[in-house]
């Protein structure tokens, strides 16, 4: 029989009569799900099924890792493609039907998992009769789709529920958490953990021992362990509490986890796996068209990933070789940052000195310092780059070439949840070099580096001030502090805008005219968005950096994709119209800047470029 050519995998039959299928997606560092692979998988099954030489198959990876999952660059564009429900469904079926075909081909298939298997990668594993994983401390398995605004759309919700029972499947799928091979073995997701060198051999042995390739759920009389739907002891309570937990955690802003729960609820109670898969595909295809999903993937994965990989790092600058770090104004150093510094820099054999270290490579300068002090410190630490956080100190630093050539704005506030650093360029000949090295430092601190042109005030402070100012405005319009804080919470803001709600005075205006929860949500978001638009209009920050500061720093709701992604999601035209309405109902602070109208059809957000 003639071997067929594939683009993403190879196929050959060995002397034991085992088809060896090696997945290796070209031009990608890791295996991801591409359209070519769907096609290959369908043709692969046809080929394997008819190949008389092969009585069983072993699937393995041609790369160091096993399978990373979905292709985020493709997924992020699904929203913009505005597909019809039918097309979205048809596209979402490609992977599902390929795996189903594999599962039903009649011959046993084992999978030899040599590295982490995530998302679609794990779904492929679940579709195989025998699942063998290599021992290794850095191997993880998981279905993290909900964290991307999606759900496992290749049968993962259905197979896991039928393998583990609804409760355990929900625990994994709804949280998206990853597990170790040992945990997977205990749960019954995989069959064995073996030494990497024995991986193929064991997989081959095990697959040849399979007498009946029919999966349990395709056999007559199969029942989901523990029950499914509302049939079974405790199922009412289980689904009731799962629905409750998602409502209480996501406040109905994140469509993915509840969609996954619906898929498991409705799909696992279908007596037919095929019907279950159809239910899952419908939920998946719907999610791929939602703006929240686009926003989460675009900001939290693609854009954040690019920044974390220092894609915007100015070229040609020597990497920062940090051996000695001095921290000045340490009383301002938050405890969590202290421990973070110790944890991360210890590994780099970097010393941290509270106070002056004459041989320091870099200085974290907190608090307010006069020009004289800066001059003295720079003299005492002649080789150090100064990372300055305080705006007044930065103004001082910016005013003299000798200062600014050795300095960069570096804002990492004392907030536990703050996950990014705002890097402020100060102008001058060495601004780019300092920026590059400050990015290196940020990466070493395991934070996301964001860039802005510093001119007097940090972007995050501008956003925060807008947030707090709007909360004040809502109070004076008659909304209670409780309503305002609840509105922020239920919009999924991380921080309450009114810290001391009991002391906050509400104006005794007309209670009927007081803003309601939806008004308050919109005003709290839009006010910040307008502040960000102003920053953007002045060319002081990019939309991507602005979004990531708002998400990773200010705790702006993740489902929006960030403060400017919000404007993009609403649409510039509608955003302007909304602001005009708010100007009438809430005040002049919502007057949309003229600049925004001039953005035209291209909007304010850069198209995602692959």
């Amino acid at each position: 029989m003639k071997d067929i050519e594939f683009k993403t995998l190879s196929y050959e039959v060995n002397t034991n009569g085992v088809a060896v299928i090696t997945i290796d997606v070209k031009d990608r560092p890791v295996n991801v799900l591409t359209v070519e692979m769907y096609d290959d998988l369908h043709r692969l099954v046809d080929c394997f099924k008819e190949d008389d030489r092969a009585k069983a198959a072993v699937i393995q990876s041609g790369k160091e890792s096993f399978f990373a999952g979905g292709d985020l660059k493709r997924l992020v564009n699904m929203y913009a493609r505005k597909r019809s429900p039918q097309l979205a469904y048809d596209e979402s079926r490609l992977f599902t039907t390929a795996l189903r075909k594999l599962e039903l081909c009649g011959k046993p298939i084992a999978v030899a998992v040599n590295g982490s298997a995530m998302g679609g990668g794990l779904e492929l594993v679940l579709a195989c009769n025998k699942r063998i994983v290599a021992a290794g401390s850095r191997i993880y398995l998981g279905l993290p789709e909900v964290t991307l605004g999606l759900l496992p759309g290749g049968g993962g919700t259905q197979r896991l529920a039928r393998m583990l029972g609804v409760e355990k499947a929900c625990d994994l799928v709804l949280s998206g958490r990853v597990i170790t091979p040992k945990q997977a073995l205990e749960l019954g997701i995989i069959d064995a953990i073996v030494d990497k060198s024995d991986l193929f051999k064991v997989a081959e042995e095990q697959v040849l021992s399979v007498e009946d390739a029919t999966r349990p759920w395709d056999k007559k009389g199969f029942a989901v362990p523990g029950g499914s739907g509302l049939n079974g002891r405790g199922m009412n309570g289980l689904f009731q509490s799962l629905s409750r937990d998602l409502s209480a955690r996501y406040f109905h802003n994140y469509p993915a986890p509840i969609a996954a729960l619906r898929a498991i609820f409705k799909g696992s109670s279908c007596g037919s796996m095929d019907k279950g898969l159809e239910i899952e595909s419908r939920e998946f295809s719907r999610l791929t068209g939602l703006v929240q999903t686009r926003n989460i993937i675009r900001s939290m994965f693609l854009n954040k990933g690019n920044l974390d990989r220092l894609q915007e790092r100015p070229a040609g600058v020597e990497p920062l070789n940090l051996e000695r770090l001095s921290v000045i104004g340490a009383s301002a150093l938050p405890e969590h940052l202290q421990s973070q510094l110790e944890k991360t820099l210890d590994k780099l054999n970097c010393s941290i000195t509270p106070g002056v270290d004459p041989e320091a490579d870099a200085v974290l300068l907190f608090g307010s310092h006069s020009g004289e002090e800066i001059s003295r410190l720079m003299g005492e630490m002649p080789d150090a780059m100064f990372c300055v956080s305080c705006p007044s100190t930065l103004e001082e630093t910016r005013s003299k070439d000798e200062f600014r050539n050795r300095s960069v704005g570096f804002n990492l506030p004392a907030v536990d949840t703050w996950q990014c650093v705002e890097l402020g360029t100060l102008g001058g000949d060495l601004a780019q070099a300092n920026l590059a090295r400050a990015m290196d430092l940020t990466k070493q601190l395991r934070k996301t580096p964001t860039v802005q042109e510093f001119s007097g005030v940090w972007f995050s402070d501008v956003c925060k001030d807008a947030y707090l100012a709007e909360a004040e405005a809502l109070l004076s319009d008659g909304a209670s502090a409780t309503l305002i804080n609840n509105s922020a919470r239920f919009a999924s803001f991380l921080e309450s805008p009114i810290k001391n709600a009991e002391a906050a005075a509400t104006s005794n205006g007309d209670a009927q005219a007081a803003p309601g929860v939806e008004d308050a949500k919109q005003r709290l978001m839009y006010r910040q968005a307008l502040a960000a638009v102003q920053f953007l209009a002045e060319g002081r920050i990019s939309a991507i950096d602005a979004d990531l500061v708002s998400l990773l720093g200010n705790g702006f709701p993740t489902w929006t994709g960030g403060v400017l992604s919000l404007v993009d999601s609403v649409g510039v035209e509608k955003f302007i119209a909304d602001c005009e309405c708010l100007k009438e109902s809430a005040g002049a602070q919502f007057a949309p800047p003229a600049w925004l109208s001039s953005c035209g059809e291209e909007g304010i957000y850069p198209a995602f470029v692959e």
Binding site: N236, S247, H252, F265, F490
Partner: protein, 401 residues
């Protein structure tokens, strides 16, 4: 349009809804059959004249499953020609069953019917029948489902009823119920329940706690604090963001009791009464159900009362006595506050806080309680009302003839 008259009504005593309760050894069908037999015997009925038996039941599964109205007809030895059915409107199932029984008469499609209901909560726990409302994620999540105890606490928080307000109300309910029982006000309508060899099992309501004081109630733990903290409070606050936190003020002492019981009300046209020589005791003037916001769930009684009054062409002032099921004390306090109903006219013989609330039967039971009390006082009109799961209210107005 023919009018529907109440000719008689009976109920079993309410037994504690737990394994030590007086009716625990009795199945739902036996309990309902007890009520049906009593109606037959008290009125010397030729049961073939009964054209439908409509039974409310809140958890129609297992022993209570499959059209228990018909099953009880067969178990009671009624004529095989008498059909039966079961209806469900959560806590108002028994009243809804009576409304439908009356509606059949008023529509001229039946002459004689029985509406009532049954619940053996000690044998079939509440919630046993499951349901999409609170367990299907596609529904429960989207309608912000919370358990009714959390809803009741939300009402108390939102309308400012303190724990002390609720406990004081509960105390008065206990006092009134005990007085009514002691004075024998319930006796004429209670049918004792006998065991299989004819020995009496229970002859009186047994849930009451005479001597209850505000102080004794104050020591009870909030019943819904834990379930609220599990996340349901947060679900509810999303619908009521003006509330900073829900105060968990309801306890086992100021909420309705879990009990076993059954009831039946004999309803018919004027003609059939004349034919059978039965004396009509009251006219069913109007009945109505409404839907309300489902998360707070239990605010139905005010709009259902307003609607049923409108249908009857009456106003609050025309009503002599009110019976509002004491599902939770806050529900009753809110009703009195919103409609300006004085406590002197409402639940004058106590209510479910003292006597218990056998879900499927209660509606029919409290119609009977109201009628007996109207007769005792020589008054004319009563409005009977219940708050209902998933955000509903069901009410009925009766008038003595």
């Amino acid at each position: 349009m023919p009018e529907a008259y109440i000719y008689d009504h009976v109920r079993t005593p309410r037994g504690q809804g737990k394994p030590t309760g007086g009716l625990h050894s009795v199945t739902a069908v036996e309990l309902l059959a007890t009520a049906l037999r009593a109606l037959r015997d008290r009125n010397q009925l030729d049961t073939s004249a009964v054209e439908d038996v409509i039974a409310g039941c809140g958890s129609p599964v297992g022993e209570q499953g499959s059209a228990i109205g018909r099953t009880a007809v067969l178990a009671a030895g009624y004529s095989e020609s008498t059909p039966g059915q079961q209806v469900h409107r959560f806590c108002a199932s028994g009243l809804e069953a009576l409304s439908l029984a009356a509606a059949k008469v008023m529509a001229g499609q039946c002459e004689l019917t029985i509406g009532g209901g049954v619940e053996t909560m000690s044998r079939i726990p509440m919630g046993s029948s499951g349901g999409a409302w609170y367990a299907d994620p596609a529904v429960a999540h989207e309608v912000y489902y919370v358990p009714q105890g959390v809803s009741a606490d939300l009402i108390a928080t939102l309308y400012g009823f303190s724990r002390n307000d609720l406990d004081a109300y509960a105390c008065e309910s206990q006092r009134r119920a005990f007085r009514a029982q002691s004075e024998g006000y319930f006796d004429q309508s209670i049918v004792p329940v006998f065991d299989d060899i004819g020995l009496p099992l229970l002859e009186k309501d047994e849930y009451l706690r005479p001597g209850t004081t505000v102080n004794s109630l104050a020591s009870l733990a909030p019943a819904f604090e834990q379930i609220g903290a599990s996340g349901f409070d947060t679900v509810a606050l999303q619908k009521y963001p003006q509330v900073s936190e829900i105060e968990h003020v309801h306890t086992a002492g100021n909420s309705s009791g879990i009990v076993d019981g059954a009831a039946g009300v004999l309803v018919g046209s004027r003609d059939i009464g004349d034919q059978l020589g039965l004396q009509p005791r009251a006219r069913i003037k109007a009945f109505a159900s409404v839907g309300t916001e489902p998360t707070i769930m239990l605010t139905g009684p005010t709009p259902s009362a307003q609607l049923v009054l409108k249908k009857a062409g009456m106003s609050i002032g025309d009503i002599d006595l009110f019976e509002l099921n004491e599902a939770f004390a806050a529900v009753v306090l809110l009703f009195m506050e919103q409609l300006g109903v004085p406590h002197e006219k409402l639940n004058v013989n106590g209510g479910a806080i003292a006597l218990g609330h056998p879900i499927g039967a209660t509606g029919a039971m409290i119609v009977g309680t109201a009628l007996d009390e109207l007769e005792r006082r020589g008054q004319q009109t009563a409005l009977v009302n219940l708050c209902v799961g998933a955000g509903m209210g069901t009410a009925m107005i009766i008038e003595r003839v």
